[in-house]
Symmetry: C2
Subunit: 476 residues, 2 copies
């Protein structure tokens, strides 16, 4: 066995994915202990604030979309004429006519009509951009699949750099590692009024990497920001587009939180829209998903990738790679199409739809403030406003004695140890900042704003007590 | 732009995936031409015999599984007590209780209860193997996702070889190319009684590759065979297991056609079962899928990977890589669980279920013979028995004049040109043998046995006419 056996590639070992890393593994063990002995911990249940997974913490799906989905899974339900509102039946019939059998593979890019549904949405929202073409759309199993296949067509080896904002969502660092490329981080500035783009930092990150003949070929942007919760201004987007355009760097625009904007005066602008206004010719890959927004259909795995200015030979390769898994799941495809074309005023389902949507978005907006306020009220914790997305990313001022203790113990990063202690004391699962990368010497964690309000308040109270005791212990 | 731009990696360019290659691209154009002018071709419609996609050519989904699925997509349907048979309602409730929200991400391996459903099936069918553990199961978006992630943990670079039977399903050649590894083909013998394993060929393929210090680390087996339609005997499986065991080569067992065995006296044996009987300790990855069998739920994208004897560090890496896409789609997961635990005698749905299952399997069995007979009746065509799976892979005796003509024109492989001519003349889409690899100097194509019977017969008649005219033209 030893001669051959399995030799795990370094690229695979190098990929880190903290959202489901050490803290989550510990949480799984705690869950088992709690199941065996419910009074074994100082809390009754775990609260998963480590992952943007709304339906796991109390959010209900939007009725209209799920009713449509049930017709697609069992078209026999169409015979029950009074089962659903008329617009649900119509939508079900429309998608069934278009796709024929949801049990059959579709075109590798996704079913043509469902892609067309996505272009209708893009044309409605990306005002001023050229009309979207269904041929430029790939339906994907969640946004991550699209990100992966686009990166695969860009990254040859460690000489190819991908600019990624720091802090970043670890899908990017992990995917780049897995493909053997180089992540080139550009730090966002953590200011009193929020996380801001710094063009000088971006420029010097690029220069530093390219000193030895290496080349940055792609630039990831995440707007609204994950984990930072910032919403890029129009000016920031223009600056990023011009930066990429001048240097011929392909943009990968992660815009899965486009419907999650809470802060007054803030508005979502897509890179595609701004780039069109700038007459940019640089390739732009734009990603959207059914997992976020106010629908939160994570489990169904649906997403889209739109390509603008992407050369045909690259498109052909992306098509070929996508063909190898034949197609993304058809129910995720139809959910994607449905979500971007919800009922409109006058439709029988509209009132219920609008009520469900508004209830979720209003609660998220409120919870964004609740989390922000509670975190900033904790001693040793400061947090930028949660302008959008689903996360707060507070800075924690870890006492030097604690940091020294972690270093001496030679265990994992201090913020990882902090997150594990927080978990053991409160049952709240957060992700340590080191999983997202952060400025050396700073420490953070990411928590979602998603739990149902009373549960969220309860979590924040327990975190407040923990933090006070933690500081007391280490400042004594 | 030229300085940076996108440089497509060689690994990506090298990956070939003929199932959706040049012939299919041509077919897409023809479909458009037919839509514009229905009388522009010598046929009225295209028939997709290029891909094992049963529901695209007339097969209906199994009622029980789809009814359950509709409850999972819209649990509100449970309130309509008389809507479905009792066992459908019970199954729906069971899966809803276990998964809670199908809109939430599950564990990265899949929802624990759904994995447990798969182990029940394995324990029922792999008699003599140790009880299956849900921890050893990954639920995947189709089998291809599992294959990919397992290969990624084995292949470092071109020095790592993966043994693959020739002819092979191009998922393997393409995935190995994409990961930068080396495919080491071992030819199956094409005999009058079917495609047979040849241990000497396997041994010399390994020796040839390992001459220069390279190492074979994995061995793919496809049983029932794709594209070859053979079903491995128990002895052949034992030989393969012993070969791998003696050399410490991990086995990747593609068993997605395990329920598609038609030939009298043939029986499916899983590698896991035989390896357990041999007390083998070599790692075995076993793949199953909801896309094949008699259910054919390709579009939903569901599959499983079972790991036996896989070292824990490798399992940990597979878990990490799977975590990066969070989980496979929950509806595919539940369909996988449902399909391997169908209604049993006494259940309210059993009769309908058994009728649907038997109708599909009986028709497949009949069509396997129809295709075999029709192909062998064509001059210049010989075809091994279709013992299982969904395909015939006939050898075509291409006239030397035709081969010379193709070579002189410098176009694609002669069997590719043949498949395109066949398409243009008959509307039948097949995949040229070169997409699967084949012995030099031999030519084949792969066709499915799936179209509804009268359509299939019509296709075979048109193919017969085409082949006769083709031979006439080139033998003149």
């Amino acid at each position: 066995m030893s001669l051959r056996g399995i030799r795990i590639p370094k690229k695979v070992l190098d990929a880190q994915y903290a959202v489901r890393g050490e803290v989550v593994n510990r949480a799984e063990k705690i869950a088992k202990e709690l199941a065996e002995n419910p009074s074994s911990k100082p809390f009754k249940r775990l609260v998963a604030c480590n992952i943007g997974n709304p339906q796991s913490v109390g959010q209900s799906p939007i009725t209209f979309h799920r009713q449509v989905l049930s017709l697609l899974t069992n078209p026999g339900l169409l015979e029950h004429q009074d089962l659903y509102p008329k617009d649900v039946m119509e939508r079900g019939r429309k998608y069934l006519n278009a796709v024929n059998q949801f049990g059959a593979y579709t075109h590798s890019k996704g079913a043509p009509l469902l892609r067309k549904e996505v272009t209708k949405f893009l044309d409605r929202t990306d005002i001023g951009a050229p009309p979207a073409d269904p041929e430029d759309i790939f339906m994907t199993d969640g946004a991550s699949q699209g990100v992966r296949v686009a990166l695969e067509c860009i990254i040859n080896d460690a000489n190819d750099g991908i600019l990624v904002p720091i802090p970043q969502y670890p899908l990017y660092s992990a995917s780049i590692a897995r493909l053997g490329g180089s992540m080139v981080g550009y730090h966002m500035d953590e200011t009193a009024t929020g996380w801001k783009l710094n063009l000088d930092t971006l420029q010097s990150a690029l220069e530093e990497f390219e000193k030895n003949g290496k080349v940055c070929r792609g630039m990831v942007v995440i707007n609204p920001g994950n984990p930072t919760g910032n919403v890029l201004d129009k000016t920031e987007i223009e600056q990023l587009v011009k930066f990429a355009e001048e240097r011929g760097i392909a943009i990968m625009a992660d815009e899965v939180y486009k419907e999650n904007v809470y802060a007054a005066g803030k508005e979502f602008h897509s890179f595609r829209k701004i780039a069109s206004a700038c007459k940019a010719t640089v390739p732009i890959f734009s990603f959207h998903s059914i997992s976020k927004g106010f629908y939160g259909e994570c489990g169904l795995r649906g997403g889209t990738m739109h390509m603008m200015n992407v050369p045909m030979d690259v498109q052909d390769q992306i098509y070929k790679l996508s063909s190898m898994t034949l197609c993304s799941n058809t129910l995720g495809q139809s959910m994607m199409a449905s979500i971007v074309n919800p009922p409109v005023k006058g439709d029988e389902s509209y009132e219920l739809y609008a009520m469900e949507r508004d209830a979720i978005l209003t609660a998220m907006k409120r919870k964004a403030v609740i989390v922000y306020d509670a975190l900033n009220a904790m001693e040793g914790v400061t947090c930028c406003p949660v302008e959008g997305a689903m996360y707060a990313f507070p800075a924690i001022d870890l006492p030097q004695r604690f940091v020294d203790e972690c270093r001496a113990a030679g265990t994992s990063e201090p913020d990882n140890v902090y997150a594990i202690r927080l978990l053991e004391a409160t049952g709240v699962i957060v992700v340590p900042g080191s999983g997202f990368k952060q400025k050396p010497g700073t420490w953070h964690f990411r928590t979602t704003i998603l739990p149902e309000e009373s549960l969220l308040t309860d979590c924040l109270q327990r975190m407040t007590v923990f933090q006070a005791e933690f500081l007391k212990k280490y400042s004594a």
